[in-house]
């Protein structure tokens, strides 16, 4: 069968459902990113703290997140926790795995960004008579934010791409929705081609918006 006939009508009819799936993808990525950032700040503080307990908790979290496949963590949340009687919905399983990964990766980004600022700047600001809050507000954090902005954008794009693993636990995000739709119409190729284009557009859109924000906020002071 070398002459495959493309039938696009089924796909166009199902387009609203695909869009809804894309919305869920964005939804889970944004939420997991926001929660991930909060936890990442705590983990970064933990990795820099003098307390052994906090350091080890943060360290174990970061290393597990960075050194195991995303799919493994999703399975762990979906099947693994089920063994304890905690049955997560597919959405929540993917969400929690993404939060875990985002937090782990971002913690290292935050720590690196923080440590890349020379401590002499802190002393200099102090000697100018700034108090601690002012030092962070006007000197340390703005510079740090500039350095972690691009890695954060990348992590967000990664979350969008990783959420496609939801297909394997039956989540209703873009790829899961595509899988469901193609299983009733058997237009696998068409559906997944459209899904691929949608993922591409989504990631490009995110990068574009992020560069617009960067231009406005940093006024060209970012590489």
């Amino acid at each position: 069968m070398n002459n495959y006939e493309f039938h696009w009508n089924v796909v166009f009819d199902a387009f609203p459902q695909l869009l809804a799936g894309a919305f869920t993808t964005l939804h889970v990525s944004v939420l997991s990113m926001l929660v991930g950032i909060v936890i990442a700040v705590l983990l970064a503080l933990g990795k820099m703290s003098n307390s052994k307990v906090f350091y080890h908790i943060a360290n174990v979290w970061v290393e597990i997140a960075r050194n195991t496949p995303a799919l493994f963590l999703i399975y762990m949340a979906y099947f693994g926790l089920g063994a304890y009687g905690i049955h997560l919905s597919p959405y929540f399983a993917v969400f929690s795995a993404l939060v875990f990964i985002n937090a782990g990766y971002l913690a290292e980004t935050f720590r690196g960004g923080f440590q890349s600022i020379p401590t002499t700047q802190y002393s200099a600001a102090k000697s100018l008579g700034m108090n601690n809050i002012k030092v962070y507000r006007y000197v340390i954090l703005p510079q740090m934010f500039r350095r972690i902005y691009h890695p954060m954008t990348n992590q967000f794009v990664w979350s969008i791409l990783m959420s496609s693993l939801g297909i394997l636990v039956g989540m209703d995000e873009l790829s899961g929705e595509t899988q469901r739709l193609q299983s009733t119409s058997f237009r696998t190729l068409e559906f997944f081609m459209v899904a691929a284009v949608m993922y591409f557009v989504m990631t490009k859109l995110v990068l574009f918006i992020s560069s617009l924000i960067a231009k406005r906020v940093f006024k060209g002071e970012i590489s």
Binding site: E63, P69, F72, Y75, Y84, V157, L168, S175, M193, A196
Partner: protein, 216 residues
């Protein structure tokens, strides 16, 4: 009647096949992807804007479409065209291309990191163009990007878990089948996670160590 049989020592062989298959496809993808990435990275470092834009767009597609979608799309495509491939072959092709997309960027920055004056000096010593590539640009440029290369290679090992969707019996898929037979997800999954961790963690530590050493 009990439908599920508990985990036994007889399953070690089954798990071992999964481990070997994971290692196998990862090694193939890393080698092929690195070689292709080296070539593409070199072309990108050397060529003009229009070629670069064209290549860049292609690599961009590979990088911004989820691997799982690429795998499904590719297997369906070759199936529809009438040339179905073995899951291992299809998986290696896509995983290698995916690796190439990331490696080419790594190697390109490696080529760019070699100072131009060094290449000029080599030329003035009578080296041919190919000799400067072979003896100056590749060794010096590649050494500079070794930590990033290692990072990409490690992510390929982790991404190889996704090849299970097209039916390749790698570690996570064997684990999944064992889980559905034994109904002991926790123990099996923790074992699988430990395996990935034991490969990835020491190597990532080594990468960080090399990176720190290079900074000094």
């Amino acid at each position: 009647m009990n439908l599920f049989t508990p985990l036994s020592w007889n399953d070690t062989g089954f798990i071992l096949t999964g481990i070997l298959n994971t290692v196998y496809i990862s090694v193939v993808a890393i080698i092929v992807g690195s070689l292709l990435g080296l070539l593409v990275g070199f072309i990108r470092a050397e060529s003009n804007k229009s070629v670069n834009m064209f290549l860049g767009a292609f690599l961009d597609i590979l990088r911004s479409v989820p691997l799982i979608i690429q795998l499904i799309l590719f297997t369906t495509f070759i199936g529809a065209m009438g040339y179905p491939l073995d899951p291992f072959v299809a998986g290696s092709i896509i995983l290698s291309l995916y690796t190439m997309a990331f490696m080419s960027e790594v190697f390109r920055s490696g080529f760019d990191s070699v100072p131009e004056n060094m290449v000029k000096a080599a030329r003035s010593l009578g080296m041919t163009y190919m000799q400067t590539v072979r003896y100056v640009r590749v060794p010096i440029g590649m050494r500079a990007v070794f930590p990033s290369w290692l990072g990409v290679a490690l992510s390929v090992i982790k991404d190889s878990a996704l090849v299970s969707v097209i039916g390749y019996m790698e570690l996570l898929r064997t684990a999944e089948q064992l889980i559905s037979r034994t109904q002991q997800p926790l123990m099996i999954l923790i074992g699988v996670g430990l395996f990935y961790f034991m490969i990835s963690y020491p190597l990532s530590r080594y990468g960080k160590y090399v990176e720190r050493k290079m900074e000094i």
